[in-house]
Amino acid sequence: MKRAAAWSILLVGMLYFILPLVGMVEFSLSMKRGVYSFEAYRVVFADPQFRQTFSYSVLMAVLTILFGVLLVVPTAFWVRLKLPGLRPYVEFVTLLPLVIPAIVVVFGYIRLYNTSSWLPMTGSVTGTNLLLLFGYSMLSLPYMYRAIDTGLRTIDVATLTEAAQSLGAGWFTILAKIIMPNVLVAVLSGAFVTFAIVMGEFTLAALLDRPAFGPYLQLMGANKAYEPFALSTIAFIITWACMGLIQLVTRLTKHDKAAR
């Protein structure tokens, strides 16, 4: 009896999550009257604006990941190694993006870095792109920091660092050859989440007026019927592909057992 009740609850839960997705996919395939087809997807893929915004967001996602890794790995490493007392404060700072809305951040950016400010970053495309990159990095900070910090927790950072130092290694070698490879799975976890966040982000990109995928999704949603659902399905697939990749990388990492 208990087992049946448990299964029923699970089934209701799954239906609650899956039915809207099924509805979304089904509607995205219904562009042609009476038959299921990929017409909406064909239209989307044929749209030059889709290709432009999608590739722009992919590029921004990759840059954000690189910037995030370069910022967070040394920071988390140093805090764990030399400044363990500061960990609660650093964690608090990294959590701030979860409580400060993106709209507040972007208006702060615009106010601080507008064309009449001391650092007019919004005055050029490169400057605005940089602002967007920093904004994306900030949004992904809670996930990136937590993932990497958890990865660092699984290895004996202090002893490995000292062992490498005694063998003549400097800080760069230690980070690149010892620490990074041992937290690679954690870094990739953070990277994939960052990728998913950047691909769907709307507020920063729209208000900084950059041709990203998020504003394009919104634009299509406001003007078309079937295409937005095809786009949502694509975005959904990207997110799940990222999650799947995290799992795959975790399983395929050869030395992973040793790091635990």
């Binding site: 290895i155 130092q165 005694s166 010892i178």
Partner: protein, 347 residues
């Protein structure tokens, strides 16, 4: 000039003085053990030699060069850690070759040296394995090979045997000593295990509360302890209170017998130390003490007995042979000793 010199080393963490005026000179190829209880400062001394801690004052020289303020990666020191500290992402061969790679050694040379080191530790076939695929003893041997591969000027061993089981510990300590002798590398070994320190070292430094209480050969440390702490910490020691009968003549009353010690004594009473193996069971030459057996511990080759000696507890050992039966609890026995074995450890 000594190969490695630690002069007036001091280290404080906040208000706590962990190492106090520590002095030591080590000759090339010597095996020195820092022995002491937890918190005595032995690891801190080792970490200062490695460069992981900066001394509050004092200096360290290696081959006449002052290395006190050099970074750890500039000192050419090999170190083996208690927790192995092998790099999990690298294979055994890559771990061993890491130091050479960092130095920019040509690949062919690294390959040769790695093979040589793996052969030295008897793991030639395991070069392609990852650390997690090795046992604790194998991992520690790889750690030793990795530390030795770049030909360091000094090898530092920070309790490398503590995480291993008893059998592996004994075989690995012999192996470490043999390799150290073979390579003639100057070594500092930190341990809290007196058996390890006494069996492996050329000299032992017994540390207590940040101070080197005694520096000497294992024989001296065991047989001629310089302080009460050394006497109590190294080996098992009976401490017996004796009444001084004639201070100038060194005569004391102990367990109902009058014993004359080799040197003069302070007046009043003295605390004497006596190793369990210095006590003989049964009548013989020398002073005879009467004691009542309180406890008999069968330890295999040795039987440890505890007895009451005029209100004081005394432990002593007797070899286990099939020809003799050990005394029973409650039995009164005669104990013999050589007065020269009695250590005066307190007035």
């Amino acid at each position: 000039m000594s190969y490695l010199t630690l002069s007036h080393l001091e280290k404080s963490f906040g208000p706590a003085r962990v190492v106090k005026d520590f002095n030591l000179t080590v000759e090339q190829g010597e095996f020195i053990s820092l022995l002491g209880p937890s918190g005595c400062g032995k690891t801190t001394v080792l970490r200062m030699v490695a460069g992981f801690e900066l001394p509050t004052s004092g200096g360290i020289t290696i081959e006449g060069q002052d290395v006190t303020h050099l970074r750890p990666n500039q000192r050419n020191i090999g170190m083996v850690f208690q927790a192995y500290a092998l790099f999990p992402n690298l294979t055994v061969a890559q771990n061993v070759g890491f130091g050479l790679k960092v130095k920019g050694t040509p690949k062919a040379e690294i390959k040769g040296r790695v093979e040589e080191m793996l052969s030295l530790i008897g793991l030639s076939d395991l070069g392609n394995r990852y650390p997690f695929q090795l046992s604790g003893g194998q991992q520690q041997r790889v750690a030793l090979a990795r530390a030795l591969a770049p030909k360091p000027s000094v090898l530092l061993l920070d309790e490398p045997l503590s995480a291993l089981d008893a059998k592996v510990r004994v075989s690995l300590r012999n192996e470490i000593r043999q390799i150290q002798r073979e390579l003639g590398i100057t070594t500092i070994f930190v341990t809290h295990d007196q058996e390890e320190a006494l069996s492996m070292s050329d000299r032992v430094v017994v540390m207590h509360e940040g101070i080197a209480d005694q520096v000497g050969t294992p024989f001296d440390i065991y047989n001629r302890p310089a302080t009460r702490f050394v006497a109590g910490f190294v080996g098992t020691l009976n401490t017996l209170e004796a009444k001084v009968l004639d201070a100038a003549a060194g005569k004391v009353a102990l367990g109902g017998a009058e014993i004359t010690l080799p040197g003069p004594l302070p007046a009043g009473s003295v605390t004497l130390g006596l190793r369990p193996e210095a006590v003989r069971l049964g009548n013989g030459t020398g002073p005879q003490l009467q004691a009542t057996i309180k406890d008999v511990d069968f330890l295999g080759s040795v039987i440890r007995l505890r007895a009451d000696l005029a209100g004081q507890s005394i432990a002593f050992d007797t070899f286990n042979t099939t020809k003799t039966t050990p005394p029973k609890v409650g039995e009164t026995v005669a104990l013999g000793l050589d007065p020269a074995d009695l250590l005066v450890i307190g007035g």
